[in-house]
Amino acid sequence: MAKKEFSKSILVLLALFVLSALLLSGINTVTAPLIEANGASAQFEPLFAVMPEAQNFDVLYSAQDPAASALVDVPETVTGIYSETSGLGYAITLSTAQGYTKEPIEMTLAVDAEGKIAALEVTAYPESRDVGADFLASFQGQDSALPDVGLVAGTTFSSAAIKNAVSDGFAALINNDMVGAGVKSDDQILLELLPQVYPGIANNGVGQYEEAEVNAGSIVKAFKALNNSGFGFVLNDGSANYLGVWTLVGGAKIVDLEGNAVDNAALLEEISVYGAANCTDESEKEIAKLQRMVSEGAEITALPVEVYNSVTGAYSILDGDTQLYGFAARSYGYSNLPMAIYYVLDENGAIVTMTVDELIFYKEYFSDYTLDEPSYKEGFTGLTADSYNGEQALIAGATMSTAGVDTATKDVFAAFAAIA
C-alpha cells in the first residue's frame, strides 16, 4: 500500500514537473524577446537625460562589440555612440582611461547636428574632489576645439580626464565624418604644445601652471610653472603666434605652431628679461642645501644648463681638488605638489648623495609600509644614467610621489649630460 502510494506520488509530481516546465518554457519563448527589448530601451535612459527631446536612438557603436559597428577609429574612452532618430544629433557615452584616476569617470555627451555640445552629464565620479558645476557648464555650446574649456586648479587630473574624454568623443564623430571639426585657436594649439616643449611645466602631460601678469610687447600670455622651474609664453611678433619657453636653470627657446624651433633673437631677449624679472629665484636656498651635502668650504657656483625639465638649478661644486656637480629639481609628487629634491653627482655622473626637502608621501596610503627614508635615499648612491632604471625610485603604493622622484632623477641625469 505504502509502496503504491509512493510510486503514485512520484508519478504525479513528475507529471506536475513536466507540465510546469512546459508552461514556463512556453511563456519564456513569448516573453524573452520582449524582456530583451525592454533591457535595450533601458540602456537608452541615460541618453534621454542629455537629450530630453530625443524620439529614440540607434546604436552606432558599442565598445562591447566594436566589430559590429561601421564606425572606424573610435578612441578607447568612447563606450557607445548613438544617433538620435529624428536627426537632433548624437549621444556618446564615455569612460575615462584608467591611470588618471583609480576608477573611471563616466559621462554622457550630447552633440547636436552642427557639432556643438548640447549637454554633458557626469554619471559616475569616483574622485573625492568635485570638478564643480561651472567646469561642466563650460562645455555647453562648444565645438570639438573646446576653446572655452579650461582646467580646474586642484582637480587638474580629473578635469583634464573629462576634457580629454570629450575630445575623444568628438574625435570618433569627426573620424567618421559625422560632424565637422571645430577650429582651434592659435593659443589653444600652442598651449597644447607646451607640455611637449617644456615637460617640466607638466605632470603626466597635464600642464601645471598659473597665468601670470604681462605688460606690453610681444608677450600675449605668460604661464608660470607651479614648481617655479620657469615660464611658458604665448608670443606674437606682429606677424605670427609663437610659443616661448624660459627656464630658471638656463633654457630659452621659441617654437612655432608646428612645434619647430624658431630663431628669433628679439623674442628670446624679451622672454629672458621677463623670466629673470618674474621668476622665484631659489638659488640661495639651493646652494645652502647643497653646501650641507658636501664638505664645508666647497665652492659652489651656478652653471647655466639648457634643459626644460623639472631641474631648477645646476651648480659646479669644487670640493678641494674634486669636481662635483649639484642639482636641484622640483618634480610633482602626490596631488601635484612639487617636491624639492637635491643631488650631488661626481664628474662621471654617478650620484654621490641625494636628499629630499620633504618626501610628499601621504602616510595614510601606507597601511603596511613604513618609509625608511635614509635607506631609500642611500639606494641612489652610485647610480648613473646607465645603471638607473627607475626601480630604485619607485615604490608600489606610493606611485604618484615616487614617480616624482623618478622624474627628478632622470631629469638630473639629462641636465648632467647637457653640461658635458
Partner: protein, 222 residues
C-alpha cells in the same frame, strides 16, 4: 454573531485573513508598501498566483497522495510565480523594476503557499473562494499600509509628490520600522472591530501546521 453590523461577512473575512492574524506575507507587505503602485502590483500578483495554484491543487486533490501534497504545492506555486514574473518583466517592465526581488519572494510566501495547501483539503469552489478572499484582503491591507506610508513617509501618492506633505514627512514611516508600526496598527484596528474573527481560520491548513492563534485556542476551551 453581531447581526447589527453592516457587513459582518466582509469584516469577518478581513479579520480572519492570515495576513493580519498570522502576519503571513509580511515580507513583501513591508518591503513594497512605500509606494501604492508597487503595493497594488504585489497584491494583484499574489492574488493571481493564489487563484491559479489553488485551482490546480484543488483539481488535483483526489490524485494527490498525502505525502506528495507539500511538494506539489511548492512546485505549483513556484511555477506560477515564475510565470507571473516573466510576464510582468515582459509586459510591465516599470512595475517589475519597482518590485525587485519581492515578486520572486512571493514564491516562498506562506500566504500563497497556505492558500494552495488549503485548496488540497477544501473543495474546489471553497478553495477558489478562499484564495480570492485572501488575495483581495491581502491587496487591500498592503494598499492601506502603502497609502499611509507613502503619503506621510514619502510625501507623495502613486509617485506624484504632494508639496505640503513632502515638507512634513515622517521619515520613520518610510523605513521598515514605520512599516511594522502601520502594519500592526491596521491589524489592531481590524481585531478591535471584529473580535474573535481570527478564529475563522481555525481548522484550515494553517491550524494543521500548528499556526493557530493562541487566543483562539483558549476561547475554544471556555
Amino acid at each position: 454573531m453581531n447581526e447589527t453590523k453592516k457587513s459582518p461577512k466582509l469584516l469577518e473575512a478581513i479579520g480572519a485573513n492570515p495576513v493580519l492574524v498570522l502576519l503571513l506575507g509580511a515580507c513583501p507587505a513591508l518591503a513594497l508598501t512605500t509606494d501604492v503602485r508597487a503595493a497594488l502590483a504585489i497584491g494583484l500578483a499574489a492574488l493571481a498566483v493564489m487563484l491559479l495554484s489553488s485551482l490546480v491543487i484543488a483539481a488535483l486533490a483526489k490524485l494527490l497522495p498525502q505525502g506528495a501534497r507539500l511538494a506539489a504545492c511548492v512546485l505549483v506555486t513556484t511555477a506560477f510565480v515564475s510565470a507571473v514574473e516573466m510576464l510582468m518583466n515582459a509586459y510591465l517592465p516599470n512595475t517589475y523594476a519597482r518590485m525587485g526581488i519581492y515578486l520572486a519572494v512571493c514564491a516562498v510566501n506562506l500566504l500563497v503557499f497556505g492558500a494552495a495547501e488549503n485548496a488540497a483539503s477544501a473543495g474546489f469552489g471553497k478553495a477558489l473562494l478562499n484564495a480570492l478572499v485572501t488575495g483581495l484582503v491581502f491587496t487591500l491591507v498592503v494598499l492601506v499600509v502603502a497609502a499611509v506610508r507613502e503619503l506621510f513617509g514619502c510625501g507623495s501618492f502613486a509617485g506624484h509628490e504632494i508639496a505640503f506633505l513632502k515638507a512634513h514627512t515622517v521619515t520613520a514611516l518610510a523605513q521598515p520600522t514605520g512599516g511594522f508600526m502601520i502594519f500592526a496598527f491596521v491589524a489592531a484596528v481590524v481585531n478591535k472591530l471584529c473580535p474573535g474573527c481570527c478564529c475563522g481560520i481555525k481548522g484550515t491548513a494553517f491550524a494543521a501546521a500548528g499556526l493557530t492563534d493562541v487566543n483562539c485556542a483558549e476561547k475554544e476551551e471556555v
